[in-house]
């Protein structure tokens, strides 16, 4: 009887290697990839014009194709919010709840194998690889709290861990698995070479925006100023785009940095108050927050004008629109750099 395993495929090298090690033992492997909304894949490339010409591949799909396996991509945006907002095990260096995230993903994979009649789960985790989620002490926590228990096998470091069911039952030969540990990438690179994998992705920090310091500062600012830790998918998408400037607690500006971002932000007309430079080439800005009073409108326009081609002119014309049909033309002198305090910039 051919045993079946589902591999958590992140798009990085480790999950690729883990899946291949198990395939080599005659196990039928399929891949699963979770979409949280914070994934680094794609978005900024799709938005920013300068990135558009580069061919951008989805690394999880690429990995699956290298392995010759099916890939199931699962939208967990809604359920994942609770992981980001209330991580039981806390955050890492930034707003990355890596341990809770791992537990959640393995738990979803466990539900998936039960529904699809698969035998066990594999991940590319390596003991000691990451400070938070891949320490020796946290490995059993992921197995236990996800409910997967000994159905969770980590082929790259299995020899450093207690035997799992696939090993105990003889579905898998333990001595053909690996005993990698620590932060060095050399063993993985050597194994990639042995398997003939080239051109694989090597994400620096982690697989998602939550490990990014500047992104995390913007998310924290959003929570602080709303007074609660909720978010919608549009919120987290907008944190990836533009300059974020907060002149006071009641609102912030998201100012496009180039044409692609201009177009992207234009798609939010009607949902946000907007500011558009009209007399000169210049950015589109969204106002996130309360409805602006006249003084705030003028300041917001002066800030936006500062990033237009008319930044050195005496007067620039902009149009401010509220969320409805009302708009007004504003003629204003762009804010001088010295009048735009550094602390207004979020991140």
């Amino acid at each position: 009887m051919t045993r079946k395993a589902v591999a958590l495929i992140s798009g990085g090298l480790d999950s690729l290697l883990a899946a291949r090690l198990i395939q080599q033992q005659g196990i039928q492997v399929e891949g699963i990839n979770f979409y949280t909304g914070f994934c680094v894949e794609g978005h900024t490339h799709a938005i920013r014009k300068k990135d558009k010409d580069k061919v951008k591949r989805n690394n999880a799909l690429w990995s699956a194709e290298q392995l010759g396996i099916k890939l199931h991509i699962i939208d967990i945006v809604e359920e994942y919010k609770d992981v980001v907002i209330n991580p039981k095990h806390g955050y890492g260096a930034n707003l990355n709840p890596c341990l809770d995230c791992k537990i959640f993903m393995v738990q979803k994979a466990h539900e998936w194998i039960q529904a699809n009649d698969f035998d066990f789960i594999i991940t590319g985790e390596v003991v000691g690889q990451r400070p938070m989620s891949q320490r020796k002490q946290t490995m059993p926590i992921v197995s236990a709290e996800s409910g997967a228990d000994d159905l969770l096998l980590r082929p790259l470091c299995a020899q450093n861990l207690p035997a799992t069911k696939p090993e105990k039952e003889g579905w898998i030969k333990r001595d053909l698995l690996k005993g990698f540990s620590g932060r060095s990438r050399k063993p993985q690179m050597a194994l990639a070479k042995e398997f003939g994998f080239e051109d694989y992705a090597q994400p620096a920090g982690g697989c998602c925006f939550l490990t990014d310091a500047s992104y995390s500062v913007k998310l924290q600012d959003l929570w602080d100023n709303r007074g609660h830790k909720k978010y919608e998918i549009d919120d987290i998408m907008l944190l990836k785009v533009g300059r974020h400037i907060r002149p006071d607690q009641s609102y912030k500006l998201i100012i496009a940095r180039e044409e692609g971002e201009n177009r992207f932000l234009s798609g939010y007309k009607g949902q946000f108050q907007t500011i558009k430079t009209v007399s000169h080439a210049g950015p589109m800005a969204l106002v996130e927050g309360d409805k602006l009073d006249q003084q705030q409108i003028e300041l917001a326009c002066a800030i936006t004008a500062r990033f237009s081609k008319g930044r050195d002119e005496e007067s620039v014309e902009l149009v401010y629109s509220d969320k409805g049909d009302e708009s007004q033309a504003i003629h204003i002198k762009p804010l001088l750099p010295q009048d735009l305090p550094q602390e207004w910039y979020i991140a």
Binding site: G42, R57, N58, L61, E65, K70, L71, I73, I74, D75
Partner: protein
Amino acid sequence: MVYSVTDSIIELDARRLFCPMPVIRLQDCINQQAVGTRIQITCTDPGVMNDIPTWCRINGHEVISSQEQYDEYILVIEKKDG
């Protein structure tokens, strides 16, 4: 999810969604269909021109056509017995 059926081709609207969401929409729709069904998906993220054909290759479905029209990307996919 927005979709409608016209002449046995299912139309999926994935405009303004970023990858991999259009792929997920296609996957969730195709999983409900019989072999031979065709699905036309309209997207605005250019990434779909790579991601949808790759997803179809690894899952055994066929891209019948793909075209760019006024900043939109339209692909027709046929469900195979992958």
